[in-house]
Structure formats: C-alpha cells, structure tokens
Amino acid sequence: MPDDADQPFDLAGCLERVRQRDQAAARELVEHLYPLVIRIVRSHLPRRVAEEDLAQEVFLKMFTRLGQYQGAVPFPHWVSRIAVTTCIDHLRAQKRRPEFRWADLSESEADVLDAAMTNENDVAANDALAATELVQKLLAQLKPDDQLVIRLLDLEQKTIAEIAQLTGWNQSLIKVRAFRARRKLQKLFQELQRKERA
C-alpha cells in the first residue's frame, strides 16, 4: 500500500479544490506551505509580534488574493512574496527603533562584538547564537526596507535578482538600500568604538 507521505503534493489540484471552497484542501495547503512561510516570518519577525500571528496573517492574505493568482510564477514564490510584504508592513508600522547601547549587551554579545570589530580573531563558531542576537539588535537600528535588504543579502545570501523577485523592488533600488544600510552599520560600529573608548 503506498504511503501518503511519499506522494508528491498535488498543488494544482489542491488549489482547484480550495477555489471550490473545500476546507480540507485549504487545510492541506496551509500545512504544505507552513515551513516556507514560517522560515520567512522568523527571519524578518518584527519586535513584539508573535510568529504564529504573522504566519496566520500571511495565509489569510493568500486565501483572500487567491483569485488574483494567474500562475505566472510558481505558487510558492507568490506566497513568499506575500510573506515578505506582510513582514515589511509590520516592520514599517513599528515607528520607534530601540536604542542600541553597549551597556545593554550580554557578556557573550559584547565578546562577539569585540571580536567582530577587531581583525585579530574571528568570531568563535560557538558564539553564533550571541552573534545572531547581536545582529538582530543592530538591524533593528536600520529603516525597515534597509533591514529587509541587508537580511536577505548578508544573512540569507540571496542575490539581488532574487531579492527583486521577492520584494518587487527594482535592482538599483535594492543596491542603493544595501549601500545605505551598510554605511549606517559602519557608522554604528564606529560610534560604539568611540563610546567604548570614552
């Protein structure tokens, strides 16, 4: 007897059934796309927003706009774009950016920052979690659009073309945002060094 888990997911058939308001098909579609959506949501999660709430919002938007899906791009790409734009909308809604201070860093975060700011030693691999926390704090200082670009470029290592496809922004705009974001990060590091010396 063939196992259901081994069968490839029939996305086209499932979408057709969802269009006919089949609740079981809608549930299957959510379960199938959840890993994709939650990865995007987790990497661009704004402060004080629960990942599950954001994922739910993405899926509700997906169902609402399902009639607009023409099949020009693969369905998961289309859903990824909805997820990215939903995250950016939430990031934009957060007007205030938390202040970044050396004193607020944990010991391991301060060590990682110290290692990153000096060329002498690389950041230890076991400090990856502290580095992630620190990166989140630094990125929170940037404008939402710049945050998104720098996350996709430097953390997820996506190409400019892939980012353009995901966000709908043109490639020049993405390059400008990346340049602006890196310059701001550079300034932040310099400021931190100056304060630390003082």
Binding site: R21, Q23, A24, A26, R27, E28, L29, V30, E31, Y34, P35, I38, R39, R42, E52, A55, Q56, F59, L60, F63, T64, V112, L113, D114, A115, A116, M117, T118, N119, E120, D122, V123, A124, A125, D127, A128, L129, A131, T132, L134, V135, L138, D154, L155, Q157, R182, L185, Q186, K187, F189, Q190, Q193, E196, R197
Partner: protein, 113 residues
C-alpha cells in the same frame, strides 16, 4: 576591548558570517490546529465578503427601482397620453384652418386673414 586593528567596514561582514553559523530552528511544521483554524477563518472571511457584496447588490437594486418609480411619478404628465376631449385647445392645433394667425410665416405668405 582590543582596539589594535579596528575595521568597522569588515566588522559587519564578520558578524554576519558568525550569525549564519547559528543552527536554523528545525520545528517548521504547523502547530497543532493551526491549519484547521486558518482554513476555517479564510473560508469564513471569503463568505463574509461575498455576503456583503450580495447585500450591497440587493440594496442597489432597491434604490434603482425607487429612483425609477420616482422619476416616472415626476414626469407623469409628460408621459401620460392626453385624451382629445379632455384637452380641446391642444386638439384644435391638429386642424389646419384653426392655426393661430400670428404665425410669421403665414403672414409673409399671405395665408393669414
């Protein structure tokens, strides 16, 4: 803190490289009940949108019917057929010999008495 060889330009790249080493969370399956809840909400939301449209469509039909009735009532006199006996003045114009004599064309052509 070591300040011997500070390089703020490369600091971000080193930090990002370290952050990329962090293990990705593996729990990517939908939490229990999530898919059911979202599917139910999505279909309910869709039904609500349809019912709102239906309601607006019915209201629009009602308003259109009322407007049609109102305009007919307002222009009733113009639209209603006028019986000849009820309006002798109007019927008289149908007779050529009873045409008014102050017609300029009739005067010029010498038709007026």
């Amino acid at each position: 803190m070591n300040h011997k060889t500070n390089d703020p330009r490369g600091a971000w790249q080193r930090l990002a490289a370290a952050a990329r080493q962090a293990p990705e969370r593996q729990d990517t399956a939908a939490p229990y009940g999530f898919a059911t809840r979202v599917a139910a909400l999505a279909l309910a939301q869709e039904a609500r949108v349809v019912s709102v449209l239906e309601r607006f469509a019915l209201r629009a039909v009602g308003v259109a019917a009322l407007l049609a009735l109102f305009s007919v009532a307002l222009n009733y006199e113009a639209l209603a057929p006028v019986p000849a006996a009820a309006a002798p003045g109007i019927a008289a114009y149908d007779e050529p010999e009873l045409a008014p004599t102050d017609d300029a064309v009739a005067i010029v052509l010498g038709l007026a008495d």
